[in-house]
Structure formats: structure tokens, C-alpha cells
Symmetry: C3
Subunit: 216 residues, 3 copies
């Protein structure tokens, strides 16, 4: 149990770092000031869970009662801010390519972790029988922070624009919710999270895209 919890915390921490970084980078590229970078970074990291908690009436949302992930997101953002500020050329150089590759993997792990955590929270709150609800809550936990980030930054939400992003979360959420009644919960959770991560990484690697209604 202890080990599972630790593993779980580790995976969520990786996701938090990735999401906070993605929010901070959007803010830095928009030349927002320090506070803007912090707000966008932290919102991206914890916003999905906040929306989920408000939807199921779990108020005040968990993040406010035990702000460990808020702190983690905050320190992630601060470190990133200091690095970029002390080395301006980092945004142009080759290190940015490496950074984005690593962050893409982190982001996929975060998406997988947050998706299954969202479903778990919904089930623990007693909504296990509402399948549509728990799948939705898993997905919104995964992609909600990014949606808030994009709305605040004034850009069309990333999940609406391209790549298999929310789709990966949806696939994993449906699989996890479906498996839950068949097999051991922990294994189902692991399969769900890995499905999200795998689809997300393969989609980036092979440039998978969903169809659009009109040809571009």
C-alpha cells in the first residue's frame, strides 16, 4: 500500500511538473511578468482537479486543503523562470528542442496519471455508477488545466486544435472505467494510465490527427 501510494505520488508529481512547465512556457512566450507566469503555470497544473472537484461538489477543492501540488507547481515555475531569465538564449538554442522532447514525455505521463486520478476521485466520492460522469471527470482532470491555461492566455484551447490529446485521455478513461468491474483496481488503473501515455506518445511521434470536416 505504502509503495503504491509513493508510486502514485511520484507519477502525479511528474505530471504536475510537466503541466506547470507547459503553463509557464506559454506565459514566458507571451512575455507575461513573473506573477502571470506563476498563475498560468500553477493553474495549468491544478486547474483540472479544481474543475473536477467543483463539478462533483467536493468543495473547497482538494488542492486548497492540501496544497502540496500547488507548492510543487510553484517551485517548478520559479526554477524555470530563473533559468530562462539567467540564460536568455536558452529559448532559441538546441537545448529547447531537448527540453520540449522531455517535457512531451512528462506531459503524457501527467495526462495519464491525472486521467485515472480523476476517475478514482469520482468513484471515491460515490459516483461509481454514473459511467459517463466518471469518464468525463477523468478527462477533465487530465485536460482541464490546459483548457484554463489557453483560455486565460487568449488562445483557442489546445485540446480543440490538434493532435490526439483529449482523445488519448478519453480512450484511457473508458478502458479504465470498463476494466474496473472486471479486474483488480490497481492493475486496471495502470492499464488505463499507460494507454493514455502510449496513445499520446505514438500520436506525437507519428503525427496522428483526427479528421476535420473541411480540407485545409
Amino acid at each position: 500500500m505504502k509503495v503504491e501510494l509513493s508510486l502514485f505520488f511520484f507519477v502525479e508529481a511528474v505530471g504536475t511538473i510537466a503541466f506547470a512547465s507547459s503553463g509557464a512556457m506559454v506565459a514566458i512566450k507571451k512575455q507575461l511578468d513573473l506573477l502571470g507566469v506563476i498563475v498560468l503555470g500553477v493553474t495549468t497544473a491544478v486547474g483540472g482537479g479544481m474543475i473536477r472537484d467543483i463539478i462533483i461538489g467536493n468543495v473547497p477543492p482538494a488542492l486548497f486543503k492540501d496544497p502540496v501540488y500547488v507548492l510543487l507547481a510553484f517551485f517548478t515555475v520559479m526554477i524555470l523562470f530563473i533559468i530562462v531569465r539567467s540564460n536568455q538564449r536558452i529559448l532559441d538554442g538546441r537545448s529547447l528542442v531537448t527540453y520540449e522532447k522531455v517535457m512531451n514525455i512528462f506531459d503524457a505521463v501527467g495526462l495519464g496519471a491525472f486521467t485515472v486520478v480523476g476517475i478514482d476521485t469520482a468513484i471515491l466520492s460515490g459516483y461509481g455508477e454514473y459511467h459517463f460522469l466518471i469518464i468525463f471527470l477523468g478527462v477533465i482532470t487530465g485536460v482541464g488545466g490546459g483548457i484554463l491555461r489557453d483560455i486565460m492566455a487568449g488562445q483557442t484551447p489546445y485540446v480543440l486544435r490538434k493532435h490526439i490529446y483529449a482523445s488519448a485521455s478519453i480512450a484511457g478513461a473508458i478502458l479504465y472505467a470498463g476494466l474496473l468491474e472486471q479486474i483488480n483496481g490497481n492493475i486496471a488503473m495502470l492499464i488505463g494510465a499507460c494507454t493514455v501515455i502510449l496513445i499520446r506518445l505514438l500520436a506525437t511521434r507519428y503525427c496522428w490527427n483526427l479528421p476535420t470536416a473541411t480540407k485545409k
Copy 2:
């Protein structure tokens, strides 16, 4: 009773189809992919009710517990997507004009239906004595989905921009809330909904607009 319920379901269904279509069309014109089209379409259809339920603490919102309108919105969007994809020229042709005329009527019916449904839900939840609240909830049920659609699509919300849109909903909501204490509830509801529809259609037909502070 049975008939009323059926009529009611029918009217709400018409509104759901209209709202889902409007969200899907915004997404298609923005060349979003299939998932983006689905998300915007469904959000437009059920977003107003979701905001209403969160404001009165009716959580999880009704749409999650009984996702019949989510499904209806989903199928509406899928059919629209397939039609546009299989016949690209449909977006330029004369059929688009006819389509928009029909949808405009549907949209007015939806606005009327959702407005009175919002008020009804608020009253059933025990807030009948708060007049400002129930009128607001009626209006937000009617226009909230469109606001979410526009915020997500990165455009200034339609209700803020032009035409007598929210105004129609407000007028009908005030009338319904006022009549409720005088006459039979079903008749009041019918009058409220028809007022919204009538004002909305007349405003479109005769290009009514509210004044602006500065001349354009």
C-alpha cells in the same frame, strides 16, 4: 401530464439539436478536428444547464447523471460532421442559407425552452422566492452554452456582441417569473417561452439592435 412531458422533451430536444449544431458549425468553420467539433457542439448544447446546476449547488449537474441530451447533441454533431465532410461544397452553396434559416428558428425555440426550463429547475430546487436568482438562472441556462462556445472558440461572446439575443431570454424570463404567481404554471411557462421565441425571431427579421454608447 404524459403529453406535457413529451411536448417538453420535444421542445428541449429541438433546442439541443439547434445549440449543438451552432457549436459544431463554429468549430467546423475554425477547421477544428472531429473532437473539437464534438466538444464545442456538446458544450454549447448542455453548457448552460451545467453552469446553472453548479450555481445552485445541484452537483453533479443533471447532464452527467442522465446524459440523454449529451447523447442527442453528440449524434447531432456527428451527423452534421459527416454531411459537411462528404459534401464540402455544402458550406458555400444555397443550401447553407436554407440551413441557417431553419437553424435560426430552432435556435430561437431552444432559447425559449432552455430559459423556462432553467427557471423551473431553480424553483424545483427551492429558490422560488429569490426572483433575481431564478430569472438569472433562466437566462444563463439559455445563453450559457453559447457563452462557453464563444470563449472556447476565442471569440467575443455572441450575447455581448449583437442582436436581441440575451434580451429576448431576459424578457421571457421576467414574464414567466412574474406570471407564475398569477396563473397556471404550464400556461405561464408557455407564454414565457413563446415570448422569447417571438422577440428573437422578430429581432432577426427586422434587425433590431440595442443602442451602443458610441456611434459606429
Copy 3:
């Protein structure tokens, strides 16, 4: 007690007028119609408190049960609309400079008042022991209306863009929350609110800004 309440009401009223005006002016400059001006004005004035109430599950939010500030915001917006409409040149003239100077002071007072009111509401709702939560609720009560205004008007939220705005609110909120356990509540509240106002006014006067990660 009576005097304190009156003073408090007065300070909140000043803030409401300032926030409603700022929302209305954004709408007027965007040439939105009367309803758009009302919606943006009222949302800016009462939106922060609404977000706070939803986060702590205080539903329906206070503004709906006792819409005194909604009414105040509404009349503020109407008066502003009529003044601008009847004297178009007012938007170019020297009176605009004076107007913006006065409004800037009002806005600072509003930010200070709303910040401490937010914290107070959170404590009265029984969340006094969650320090991060009450500070966040103070700040979101202060800046939330402006965030909603900017998101609806389609501009990057003001708090993310420039000036010491949210920072002033954060500083005052932390000070108030910290002092609360040491000294008399009313004095702590006064110190908190004045800190916000002072930082905000000094920041405007001397063009203080937070650092950005990249040079502009």
C-alpha cells in the same frame, strides 16, 4: 458595530462602482451594445465574489440572494452609458484623464475592500485554518471579476499582463491572514485593505512592474 458595518458597506460600494465602471468602459470601447455593457460591468463588479462562493460551496452565491451590489453595479453602468452616449466627445477629452485618475483610486479601494471581504467570508464559512485557501479566496474575490471581464471581452486577463495588481492583493491578503491571529480583527482588516490600496497606488504612480523572463 453599526458604524463599522456602514463603513464597510461604503467601502464595498466604492469598489463596486469602480469595478462596474471598469467593466462598462471595456465594453463601451469594444462598441458592445447596452446589454453587453451591462453584462460586462455587473460581471466585473460581482464576478469575484461569485467565483469565491462557488469554490467554497456557498451556493447560490450571496450576490443572488441579496442583489444589492448587483443593483448598484447596474445603476453605475446605466449612468455611465447615458453620460457617454449623450456626450460622445467625453471619450477623447481631458475629462477622460480626470475620470481615469479618479477611477484608478476607486479601483484600488475596491481591490483592497474585496480582498479582505473575501478572506472574511472564507473564515466565516469555517475555513480559517486553511491559510492557503483563505488567501486565495481573498485574492480571487479581488481580481476574479476583472479576469471574467477580460476573458469575456477576449483580451488576456489584465492581472496576467502588467502592473502590480494581483500582487498588491496577494500582499494584503497574506498580511491580513497573518495579523488575524495576533491582533484585533477589525484593525487587521484595515491594515490589510490599506496595504493593498497603498501598493496598488504606488505601483501605478511609479510604474512598478514585476520582472519578465525575457527582455522585451
